[in-house]
């Protein structure tokens, strides 16, 4: 079982994700955004960073990278896809997840650890966690303020697709949303960085339960 981590020009968390997946007991390799195939990977992660730069909008250009066609096809076929931070922004821009990430309320870049609560275990990222479980995870973003129209929010709530909520909302996100999933649960996006909480040396291992869930789902597909 192998996880592919997509590297865009400007990605900067790809090695963190490879290490984090390793800490969770999996194997990961890097994929290049300019390739049009995912090779033989069983799961895909879009890592954090600044894919193609944030000059127009985070994720706006990344959705046109050649590999995104393969990522979309993989996602639509039920393959596990995880977008972390900038990867979440790319997934919304690519239409694989609804809504958008706008500038933080208060217009400050936020870099600190926050508590997030697992509110749904039906996603590939949270299936091994317990509902109500609180995890301490780092956030590191300027555009992490999740927003969507009321119709989308109603659907996310009704379909139990809000997988993680902030305990103390740091960025103004609608309904305290820190992470959501697709209707089938295989595509997940979140602003916090589970890979940066995957070793005692990093100050927290709370991200491991998420990464292990993701690996377990990838193993079953």
């Amino acid at each position: 079982m192998k996880v592919g981590v997509v590297v865009f020009p400007g990605s900067n968390c790809e090695f963190d994700v490879v290490e984090g997946v390793g800490n969770a007991g999996g194997d990961a390799e890097l994929l290049w955004h300019g390739d049009s195939s995912l090779g033989d990977v069983d799961a895909v992660v879009l890592p954090g960073g600044f894919a193609h730069g944030d000059y127009l909008r985070p994720g706006a250009i990344a959705r046109f990278s050649p590999i995104m066609g393969a990522v979309s096809e993989f996602a639509r076929g039920g393959g596990p896809v995880l977008g972390i931070c900038n990867g979440f922004q790319v997934l919304t821009e690519a239409g694989l997840l609804p809504g958008a990430l706008q500038k933080n309320a208060g217009l400050k870049f936020l870099c600190r650890s926050v508590d997030v609560r697992v509110d749904s275990t039906r996603s590939g990222l949270t299936s091994g966690a317990s509902a109500g479980q609180v995890l301490r995870l780092p956030i590191n973003h300027f555009e992490g303020n999740y927003t969507c129209d009321q119709h989308t929010l109603d659907a996310l709530q009704a379909e139990d697709r809000i997988v993680l909520r902030y305990v103390d909302n740091p960025n103004g996100a609608t309904d305290n949303i820190a992470g959501i999933c697709s209707p089938e649960g295989n595509v997940v996006g979140l602003m916090p960085h589970p890979e940066r909480a995957s070793d005692e040396l990093l100050g927290s291992t709370d991200g491991l339960v998420l990464l292990r869930s993701f690996l377990a789902v990838a193993d079953r597909v």
Binding site: R57, T92, T147
Partner: protein, 42 residues
């Protein structure tokens, strides 16, 4: 206003140019979930 983007479009007439830019706004230049676009042709 968040940003102003100025560029040249080659098109047979203004209507075609506007239609192309409207399409560009929907798919790329703006995110319709959080942004509106106002197009002006000079």
């Amino acid at each position: 206003m968040g940003k102003a983007i100025r560029f040249t479009v080659e098109a047979p007439d203004a209507e075609t140019a506007r239609s192309r830019v409207d399409d560009l706004c929907q798919k790329f230049l703006t995110n319709p979930v959080i942004e509106d676009a106002k197009v002006t042709i000079e």
